[in-house]
Chain length 319, copies 5
């Protein structure tokens, strides 16, 4: 993988001249000059409440009980961006000034079932709030994120909010990533490959720079990296990144990610609980293993050795 | 067909003096000085998700898997306008600066059935966003589009939004086109000719310059060009253009369009998947064949030869 | 009937000093210095779609198929105001600069039945849009109109919107007319005389200058002019005008209007399809016949002769 | 009862320094320097449509058919404030410049039953509109009123609107009165004394100066003045005033009002149809009789003689 | 417990430089330089109507019938903050200028059952209103409060409103406290410990400084202080404070509070009716007993003696 230069970047044409440099800087920072996004996703404290952070049987590391853990991992490992809600960043950011933050602008809890109510997640903050936070905190905020539940009866409201946020973010040269999840009574198979491609296509029509989708399955129900390819095509210039899905062994996880990138056409990864449910030391090593694949374009064996502490992954060419 | 001169154009009187020239320029650009609109419609990536772009059995050209295809067609053929969402234009527009863009301002997916929820499609962007995009990109943005589901329980919200967008667009001298589709539980026959005429009448009351309707059928259920005539009358100064409908042979398609214009009173065409599902070369020829009818006022035989590569259609008198 | 002088006019006290003259001018123009309003209502292309404009059996004049017809009638006959949506005026107004326009600010289609959904009609434009149209077009815009469905579950939203529009219109010296129709599941008898009086009372509490109601019936179900009297009292300074109702012979129509004014206390008329479904020549004569009653205070015989082309009605004392 | 001096008045601390004098002036005007509010309520033309103004059997005076009657009474009798909608005041106020007006900011019709739809009454005007009316009309506008249906599913919307209006009114030194009515499916006994006290408590938490409640009944269902006491306590600095309830003899009405004040702790009265359904002469005498109790602190016998024309009630110490 | 110094305080990084001192001042005032919050909660007059203030059997002190009582207690005892609605503060604040106020920004009545309607409580005031009140009143307003019903179908609206209020409050250096209550059809066990921890986690993601939760129970249904610990961890820098729950003896209450702090990790208390339903003298002593635990870090025996009037609790080191 060759280093990305400033002129290689396709800057969306709604970014004003005055902020093109800013956009390019953010793109290079977020992708560590590789064009690929390694996202450490830390927005689950609203999305999943405390389910991902505390286990009475001890399957989750005790350090994860406290939100501080997320920031410790993000600051001590090699990642692209750490995604978290603006409020969480405002409480901890001052002590972790070197992280690249991607501000997640909406979130909802998982209390209400799809049977009860169609999913809706409104923006909790606007781009102006992100810019204000940047001004008051001097943090490295490189972009924003927003979740859309495609197929919900409230779809149109979320599409409109996302379009507005993407446009406003671009005005300030911020990157944008849409979490695009087909969900609701109208969606019988959330992870269908063709539907996932449709989701990626919606993201590019909204002007997003990246779109996070769930790992799709093919027509036989197999979650194969090849099933992601249609989505990668449909997304076009909007880079498709994939969630890790259910827990699996580190080796399986890393192999899957490698396939997503090299077979499915993914332009990065978005990984959350697979990272932070481990102890700090292990979580840092796992982050670095993921980055070895996504940012370093290394093979699975190398990444596995990084995870096992037998290798260091050092990203040499950085911005 | 005679060339349209600046003074021939009926400028709506909500266009301010300062922007009359702009409106006239946009009208002449969009209609290539003919008064007829040849619209290449490319908003289906939200409206139909990936259904129009990917077929596992190969009935859709592989080039269509990627959004780049739409822009390639639009830039290499003779068309009036290319209609697409603002976000899509912002991602690709810089590489395709010579297209006339019509910015589609709302869209919704096709996931929710009419049985489940009355159709609603809110504006994703405002005219100010269009003007900002024009300022940052220097693209040829000549107008805007918006879909209304007439008869939906949310009709009043879409009517209000459309009225606002048309008025704001005119303030800047932009053309306006309403996609007007009767739809919802209250609508038993979406393509009834009399209802279609009602839809066209609503568009002129909103002040739209063009209205895109579906091909209506007559009382016996036949989709004849004559069934369009009532709508063309009802629209008055708002030019009625027609969608192509389901797939058919190129010859049938071109004959139908010729009839829509010369029997039904249509003032142009709006064509999408009939164009982009073909390979680039064929799609360009098909575009030019359509333009031979709409913009060149040529006969069906000539258009067919253009499609078959036996003739070139060159629009000589352009702005 | 004596001519109305400037000082006779009760200017509502929310009209600012700077616009009192403007209000008085508009009042005198709209009522042709008589205090009575002759309104040619032309907002049916949204309200009734194409039902009022096209009849396959030829009962509607062919000229009515095209919106141009409405403007031709309004410009060639003696009327007080022509009521139409802002968008329609913006498309045709430049060619018909001498009409007094009353801008209808909301409208909805008739597709949805009361069984399906409670009626709601939101404003499509605001007063600022009306003022902008006046500035760009130099048309004689003398006032605005808005429909309220009293008794709908959305009543409070329409009351609030109407109150805002009336107040804003008065700020610019524009006249205001409310179309006040009791409608919805809660309304068992829309044309009850006592309910109609309630509707008129609501209009005066909103500060409207005129209120258009449907012709009420008395307790025995008879549509008599006397049944209108309670409404005329309840409206107080808000002048009650009446729709013409279903089609009837010209003689019956004119007799009914005469009774509405002289027995029921109406301060004018609001007439639509009874006018525009006729050919241009006949429509102009019928308009003038109505005006002979409303504006000229002549008797029914005279009006009938005007309609039959045996007399000319000329309004001598005009502003 | 001793005269109220400027320094006796507890000015809410959200009134800015610049408008404290204004608030004090309005308080003294509205209470005629007594601290008690005699409100002539005239907002029924929306709330009850024409039911309170016209009776085919003649039980309502013919003068009441026309809204002018309300203003004649208010201008010719001794009252504290006349409450009416802004629109009604704007149509008649110029001819009645000496009335103290309290502008009622919301109202809804009585057409929809509680079974059909939970009650909601949105603000029709804002404080800025009241201030503008004052500026254009020079009327004595001393305060505003707003109705909340406590317990409605739309309660939170009305609470929010009321809080905003009270705060904005205080910013300009205007008095505020909340009509607080428990109503909706959740309310089984609207006039329960304990619930009424709750309603008064809500009003003081919103910062209102007065709260109008319906006459409550005690646990045995008796409408006794003593049942009002809990509410008067709960309201604290927010003065509780009581509606008159159903029609009764003048003697009974005056005795009840006397008890409300002297036993129940009411700080005034709010009376509507009991006043305006009488002929002008009788209505004026009845107003003055009420004021003899509320403002003059006289006994019931004296008030009755005022009503019977045997005494004059003159409020000597006025602002 | 050691005194908190200015530099110990973790100021959220959305507080602008210009207001950091203000935030620190408010934090020290509210926590009396201890880092713990002793909140006297007085927002029940809307939340519980008059149920907490009046008991026909005399179980509530008569002084509590009148809102004045709340302010008397708050001004005569040692507390951290007194929480009440802006309107209530505006009516009484001028006479009680030395209280630290926390302005409760939303409230709803308890009339509607969860079976009837999902809970929703909208903001009644904004931060600008709080700042205006501070400016007009010169009161010690140190922060704001807002209730979220997590799991309600309206959750997303309340999350968005809370996020906005927290961000705006921080902009002015105000403290923020979220009342976070899981509630609605989707919530089967409101006081589950794991769910309560989820609620605390949501609060830190919103950026709140404190979160008030209900006392949780463990898996066996026991309300033990240990069940609170997971929430205290999940809240991280957002201090968890606990409501007192149902009425119990003073000794039991104080023991429970001591355990909440020393076993459960609570950073203070929020106590309402347990205080104000007592007579003024007793309520003041009870307040001081609570403060002896929360602010003075004394043991339960000492606190009990304070309550019994055998000891004075004096907070020596204050700001």
């Amino acid at each position: 993988m060759t280093k990305l230069y400033r002129n290689d970047i396709k800057v969306p044409c709604d970014v004003p001249e005055s902020h093109v440099d800013n956009y390019v800087d953010n793109y290079l920072r977020a992708t560590r000059s590789t064009g690929r996004l390694m996202m450490f996703a830390g927005d689950q404290k609203i999305e999943h409440l405390n389910d991902d952070f505390y286990d009475p049987n001890g399957k989750i590391a005790a350090e994860d009980h406290c939100p501080n853990h997320l920031f410790s991992i993000a600051s001590q490992s090699t990642i692209g961006v750490f995604a978290a809600q603006l409020g969480l960043i405002s409480q901890y950011g001052k002590d972790f000034p070197h992280i690249n933050y991607l501000v997640k602008l909406n979130s909802k809890s998982n209390l209400i079932s799809l049977d009860q109510h169609e999913p809706l997640s409104q923006a909790l903050w606007n781009i102006e709030d992100v810019i204000n936070l940047q001004a008051t905190s001097h943090l490295n905020i490189v972009g924003i994120g927003y979740t859309i539940y495609l197929g919900s009866e409230h779809e149109t409201q979320m599409l409109a909010e996302a379009a507005r946020l993407i446009k406003d973010a671009h005005r300030y040269g911020l990157l944008t990533c849409i979490w695009m999840y087909p969900r609701g009574k109208a969606v019988s198979d959330e992870k269908n490959a063709h539907l996932t491609a449709g989701a990626a296509g919606v993201a590019v029509c909204l002007g997003a720079d990246f779109v996070k989708v769930n790992m799709p399955h093919d027509d036989e129900g197999h979650y194969t990296a090849r099933a992601l390819q249609e989505a990668a095509w449909a997304g076009g210039r909007t880079g498709v990144i994939c969630a890790g899905g259910g827990s699996k062994s580190a080796a399986d996880f890393l192999q899957q990610l490698h396939d997503q990138i090299h077979i499915g056409g993914a332009r990065g990864n978005a990984t959350g609980r697979n990272i932070h449910q481990r102890s700090l030391d292990e979580a840092v090593r796992f982050c670095n293993a993921i980055s070895a694949l996504t940012l370093g374009d290394r093979d699975v064996d190398f990444a596995l050795r990084v995870y096992q502490g037998q290798e260091d992954f050092i990203l040499t060419e950085d911005v």
